[in-house]
Amino acid sequence: MPAAWQLLQAARLTAIIQSLQDVRQLPQSLRFLGRTAIVPAADSEIMARFTGFVTIADLVADDQQAVTYQNTKLSYETTNIPNIKHGAAITQAMLNQLQSLMENGGMPRDMGLFSNYENRTIDGLLLGVRQRMEALLVAMACDGLTYDRLGIKMTNVTWGMPADLKVTPSVTWDTAATATPVNDIWAVRRTGRVRYGQDFDRMSLSTQAFMYMIATTEFQAKARTLLAPNVSYTNLTLADLDAQRTLAQNVMGLREIELYDARYWTQNPDGALVSTPFLPITKVVLSNSADDNDPTATDFANGITTESIVSGLAPSEMVGGVGGPTRGPISYATVPADLNPPNIVYWAVARGFPRKHRLQSTAVLTVGTFTDTIAVGPPF
């Protein structure tokens, strides 16, 4: 290529890079995954749940017999581990484009987009697998999973959360005049503490639900008592979420209120991109920070990926290998043996499912049927 033309090519590619640096693809903080223990598990693993109640001892007179009680039970359940998998095909045209870019010395400031194309593709796929793990963990925290995609259909999957921890307030939080969000939270926290010995000290909710909460008359009346005598609640800015969050933590006696608005993208069969929040915006999850990464409360059963078992048994189209049975998430590439057509497909896979060992470890409130007031479609 003539040297005079290279400048023009660089300018054109810089523009492409900027449009490909899509904020939707940037890693998000996957909060529920970050605080869940990922433990090795086998397929069709049988777990026993031990339920026991400690009863207070009796007073027995001298020379009298004491009685025995039987108040423990073991219940069995199995976990069938599904695959979490997706791939990205690199077409012949794309391979040729990448080759020509590499020959041209690559882009010095391309942030690795082209020069590390393979790594970025695999990173993206692995992130997608982790996002599905996060979505499953949130579904477990809310005790409800409905999934209908590519032939897999799951409807109202439950992890056995007690009914009185899965609460719908009779007045929805978007009814500012009569909703009682503070009392609602206190009521569920009291049930958790008194009936289940569980101290919920963290509340996770969407920013939209939080803004409805702080707009209620009840919240503002209760928050007013924590302000200086000469400051009215109307002096505060509702949009100052950090200040409002600190105030709300004090009103509700919570260690932490986390606003969780992360979303994931799925592609419909017609190619349309749809974004969905990990935590539905009308759900409020209560949890105990002491249960973070405690596998006796919840965990993610992580099985050995079948691909890693099969790839070592016989020649396959996998490039290289994964070195024997391996737990996910893993990624690999396949190339057709006859190079017909000559393309590469990158894959990421895990095999796992979240498990709830302490059924009362989270509580959930459904606080309305409202939608987000901010548009959530593809921004570009």
């Binding site: 899965k166 609460v167 719908t168 007045v171 978007d174 009521a187 569920v188 049930t191 409202f370």
Partner: protein
């Protein structure tokens, strides 16, 4: 959405959850407050519930009167046979037997 109706509360409980109303958590249908209790304090809703209850009372009274009437005349004549029974009996030939009486 505002305030849940009793039907919506029942739905939440049937789905395996519970309803939080005035500080109390209800997770069984039998525990739920009645329509009248839920309407307390809301004049508009009270009127709606009162009207629905009146309609129920009228319907029940009609049933009660019918029961009273049938006790007075133990032999059912053709005029007192409910239409549904007549229709149902058509195929079994009972209608003609009753009509012959």
């Amino acid at each position: 959405m505002g305030t849940l109706t009793r039907a919506e509360m029942e739905e939440a409980i049937k789905a395996g959850g519970s309803v939080l109303h005035k500080g109390a958590i209800y997770h069984q249908l039998g525990q739920l407050p009645s329509e009248a209790e839920l309407a307390e304090g809301d004049p508009e809703q009270e009127a709606v519930v009162a009207s629905a209850l009146d309609a129920q009372i009228t319907a029940l009274q009609r049933q009660r009167d019918r029961l009273h009437l049938s006790r007075q005349s133990p032999t059912i004549g053709p005029a007192q046979v409910p239409e549904k029974l007549v229709a149902a009996d058509d195929t079994s030939g009972t209608k003609s037997a009753k009509a012959n009486k």
